[in-house]
C-alpha cells in the first residue's frame, strides 16, 4: 500500500448529493487525506476554477454536510481536514473546533493565517491544537525563520503550496522550490500542492522528495460534469503513479 494522494473538494460542490457520491468513491488505498474547503465569499488565494466552486457551493452549503463527509472518510481510514479561510473560521469561532472534532475531522488548515493574520497566528494555532491538528501552510515565499518557528509550534504534516494560487500555470523552478523546503524540514511529512496539472508533474514532484501531492483543480471538471467514472479512472491512475 502506498497512499500518497490528498484530494481537495469544496464542501457541497457541485451539490451535496453529488459530492457524497465522489467521497464515497474515494479509494483508501490511494488517498491518505481529504481536504474539504469551507465555502468562502473571498477565497483569496485560489485560482478562478476553485473560486467558482466556492461561490456556487455557498448556495448549497450546510455545516452538517461536513459531518457526513467526515464519517464516510474516517470509515475508509482516510483522514478528513477542513480548509477554512481565516475570516470564515473566525466568524464561526472556537465552537467550530468541537463540531469538527465530533465530526471526525483530524485537523484544520488556514491558508491565509500566516499571510494576512500573522499577528494572531500563535494564539490561533494554540487553540486549534487543543482539539485538532493544525496544518501549517507554507509556500516558496515563506521566510526561513517563519518555517522553523511555525513548524516548531506544530506536530502535524505540512502543506507546501508550490505557487501563489491554485490551478494556474506559472513558470517556477520546481527543483529549487522543492529542495528549499526539504532542507528546512528534512524529517517532517511535507505534502505539495497548488497548481498540479497532470500525472507527469505528480511523478516529478514525488521524485523531488514530496511525501504526497494535493490535487484540487484537476478534479473540478469531473465534479462539475457529475462524471464519477472519470474520477474513478483518474484515482486509479494516481494509484499507479504513487506505487511506481
Amino acid at each position: 500500500m502506498n497512499r500518497k494522494t490528498i484530494f481537495y473538494f469544496t464542501s457541497s460542490y457541485p451539490t451535496h448529493e453529488q459530492l457524497l457520491k465522489f467521497i464515497s468513491s474515494v479509494d483508501g488505498e490511494v488517498v491518505k487525506y481529504v481536504e474539504l474547503g469551507l465555502p468562502s465569499m473571498n477565497p483569496l488565494y485560489d485560482g478562478p476554477s476553485i473560486r467558482k466552486t466556492h461561490s456556487d457551493a455557498l448556495r448549497n452549503f450546510h455545516f452538517s454536510h461536513l459531518a457526513e463527509y467526515g464519517s464516510i472518510l474516517t470509515r475508509k481510514g482516510v483522514r478528513p481536514y477542513l480548509l477554512a479561510y481565516y475570516n470564515d473560521f473566525a466568524q464561526r469561532g472556537e465552537r467550530m473546533l468541537d463540531d469538527l472534532a465530533d465530526a471526525g475531522f483530524a485537523g484544520l488548515l488556514i491558508p491565509d493565517l500566516l499571510i494576512d493574520h500573522a499577528d494572531v497566528a500563535q494564539s490561533i494555532i494554540a487553540s486549534v491544537q487543543k482539539k485538532l491538528e493544525f496544518i501549517p501552510f507554507f509556500n516558496p515565499a515563506t521566510p526561513d525563520a517563519i518555517v522553523s518557528r511555525i513548524s516548531g509550534m506544530t506536530r502535524s504534516w505540512v502543506y507546501y503550496g508550490l505557487q501563489p494560487s491554485t490551478g494556474i500555470e506559472i513558470p517556477y523552478d520546481l527543483a529549487e522550490v522543492s529542495s528549499r523546503i526539504r532542507e528546512l524540514l528534512p524529517s517532517r511529512e511535507v505534502n505539495f500542492g497548488f497548481g498540479i496539472r497532470n500525472l507527469d508533474q505528480v511523478r516529478e514532484i514525488m521524485s523531488l522528495g514530496s511525501d504526497g501531492v494535493a490535487i484540487g483543480t484537476m478534479i473540478i471538471p469531473m465534479l462539475t460534469g457529475h462524471d464519477l467514472e472519470a474520477f474513478l479512472k483518474f484515482q486509479h491512475e494516481l494509484g499507479e503513479v504513487a506505487v511506481a
Binding site: G47, P48, A141, P164, S165, I170, Y172
Partner: protein
C-alpha cells in the same frame, strides 16, 4: 562659501575592479520578518496572475515565483554589467562632510556612473536579454522621468531587439532631450496617454491634455504588449527587479569591507522601491543593527499618507494586485520635478519592512531637495538626479541632526541629473 581643502578623493574605488561585481543576485523574500503576501487576481473569472505569462519574459516570471535567495548572474549578463560601468564607485563624500562639518563619515554609492546614468540599467539588461532569448522581437515599457525608458532602449539595443516606450505626457513635453536619447538608442517613444491603446484613448477622450502618470503608462504598455504579443519590461515594484538591483548593495558590501567600514545608516529614495531595495536589502541582511531610511517625495507621500493594502499595480488594472503601501491606483500626482517618484505604490517587500518598522521613512519637499542637489553639486561635483536628491536631502538632514555623533552614513545616489537641469529654474 565652501572650499575643498584637500583634492585627494580617497576611497574612490576603481571601476575596473570587476571582481567587485557579485556572482549572485540576492532575493530578500526568504529573509523577510513575515510571509510576503502573494499577488492576487483582480476579477473572479480570470486570473491576472496567469495573464503574466503573456506579459513578462518567461525567465523573469520564473525568478519572480521561485524566490531563490541567491541566484547566479549568468556570465553574459555579468559581462555586460562590466561594459556599462559596473562596479559603480562607492565614494567617501569628503566635500559634503566638510561642508556639513560632520564628525562622522558619509559615503555615497554612485549609480549615475553607469552608461545610461541611473540604476535602471541593472534590471533592463537581464530582462531584455531574457526576452530576446525567448525569441521576442520587441519589448514595451513606460517611463516617467525617462531614466527607465533610456535604460530599456539601451538594453534592447544590446539584446538586438526593438523597444517601444510610453512616456508620461508631462515629461514628454518637458523633456525633449530624454526623448532624443531614447531614440538615439533605438527606442520609439509615444506620449502617454496615447491613442495607441484602448485605455489611453479613453483617458484622452475625457481630457485631451491629460498629464499622464506612471500607473497609466504601465497600463498602456501592458495593454500594448498583450495586443501585439510582445513582452513588457518592468522597471520597479516586482520582486525580480529588486533582486536584479541587489547588485548595488552587494557591491557596496564588498566596497565597505575593503574600506574597513561598517555602515550605521543607509539612505535611499523610493519611487517603486527598486534602487532602495537593491541597495539596502543585502546590507540589512549583513548589518542587523543598521538604521535604514527611505525618502519619498512629499507630493507622493505613499508611506505617510498611503494605506498598506492590496492594490492595483497599474491604473488599467491588468497586472495582479499586490499588498503594498499605496495612495490608490488612480492617484495622479502633481506635476512634480522628480518624475521617477510619481508612482502611487511601493514594492511589497519594502512595504512590509516599512510596516514592521525595520525601515523608517521621510517625505522630502521640493525646496529641500533642490537645496540638497545644489549642495551636493558644489561639494562633490555631481549633479544628482532629482529622485536621488530626496536621499541626499534626508542624508543632509540626518547628519545635521547627529552632527557630533561619529556615524557612518551611506547614501545611494541612484542617478545623475544632467538631463533634468530644468528643475533649477528661477534661481531656486
Amino acid at each position: 562659501m565652501f572650499i575643498y581643502d584637500t583634492l585627494m578623493p580617497i576611497n574612490m574605488l576603481s571601476s575596473q575592479e570587476k571582481e567587485l561585481i557579485p556572482e549572485n543576485w540576492y532575493n530578500v523574500v526568504p529573509d523577510l520578518p513575515e510571509q510576503l503576501p502573494p499577488p492576487i487576481d483582480n476579477e473572479a473569472e480570470r486570473s491576472s496572475i496567469e495573464l503574466l505569462n503573456r506579459i513578462l519574459p518567461k525567465e523573469v516570471l520564473r525568478q519572480e515565483f521561485t524566490f531563490q535567495r541567491y541566484m547566479k548572474i549568468p556570465d553574459d549578463i555579468r559581462e555586460i554589467y562590466e561594459q556599462i560601468g559596473r562596479p559603480t564607485p562607492l565614494v567617501r563624500a569628503r566635500g559634503l562632510e566638510q561642508f556639513l562639518d560632520y564628525s562622522g563619515k558619509i559615503y555615497f554609492k554612485y549609480e549615475g556612473a553607469t552608461v545610461t546614468g541611473s540604476h535602471k540599467i541593472n534590471t533592463a539588461i537581464p530582462q531584455a536579454i531574457y526576452a530576446a532569448k525567448e525569441g521576442v522581437q520587441k519589448v514595451v515599457t513606460e517611463t516617467g522621468a525617462g531614466q527607465w525608458g533610456t535604460a530599456t532602449s539601451v538594453a534592447a539595443s544590446f539584446a538586438g531587439i526593438k523597444a517601444k516606450i510610453f512616456m508620461v505626457r508631462i515629461s514628454y513635453q518637458q523633456k525633449p532631450l530624454r526623448k532624443k536619447i531614447m531614440e538615439l538608442y533605438g527606442g520609439t517613444v509615444s506620449p502617454s496617454p496615447s491613442d495607441e491603446t484602448r485605455f489611453g484613448r479613453n483617458l484622452l477622450k475625457d481630457n485631451p491634455d491629460h498629464p499622464g502618470s506612471l500607473g497609466i503608462g504601465i497600463g498602456e504598455a501592458v495593454e500594448y504588449a498583450l495586443d501585439h504579443d510582445l513582452r513588457y519590461l518592468v522597471g520597479s515594484v516586482f520582486n525580480s527587479v529588486l533582486t536584479h538591483q541587489s547588485i548595488i548593495g552587494l557591491e557596496t558590501e564588498k566596497q565597505l569591507e575593503i574600506a574597513g567600514e561598517e555602515p550605521d545608516v543607509l539612505i535611499g529614495c523610493v519611487g517603486g522601491g527598486s534602487n532602495f531595495g537593491g541597495f539596502s536589502f543585502p546590507l540589512i541582511k549583513k548589518f542587523k543593527e543598521v538604521e535604514v531610511i527611505a525618502s519619498t517625495a512629499a507630493e507622493v507621500p505613499k508611506f505617510s499618507h498611503g494605506e498598506y493594502k492590496y492594490d492595483y499595480v497599474d491604473t488599467a488594472r491588468i497586472l495582479p494586485s499586490v499588498k503594498m503601501y499605496s495612495l490608490g491606483a488612480d492617484f495622479v500626482p502633481e506635476k512634480i520635478y522628480a518624475g521617477g517618484l510619481r508612482y502611487h505604490g511601493a514594492a511589497p517587500s519594502l512595504s512590509m519592512l516599512v510596516k514592521t518598522g525595520r525601515v523608517a521613512t521621510r517625505d522630502e519637499d521640493e525646496n529641500h531637495v533642490i537645496q540638497a542637489l545644489k549642495i551636493f553639486s558644489k561639494t562633490q561635483g555631481i549633479v544628482a538626479a532629482p529622485e536621488s536628491g530626496h536621499a541626499l536631502a534626508s542624508a543632509i538632514d540626518y547628519v545635521r541632526k547627529h552632527k557630533h555623533e561619529k556615524k557612518t552614513v551611506v547614501v545611494n545616489v541612484s542617478g545623475h541629473g544632467l538631463l533634468d537641469l530644468s528643475i533649477f529654474r528661477d534661481d531656486k
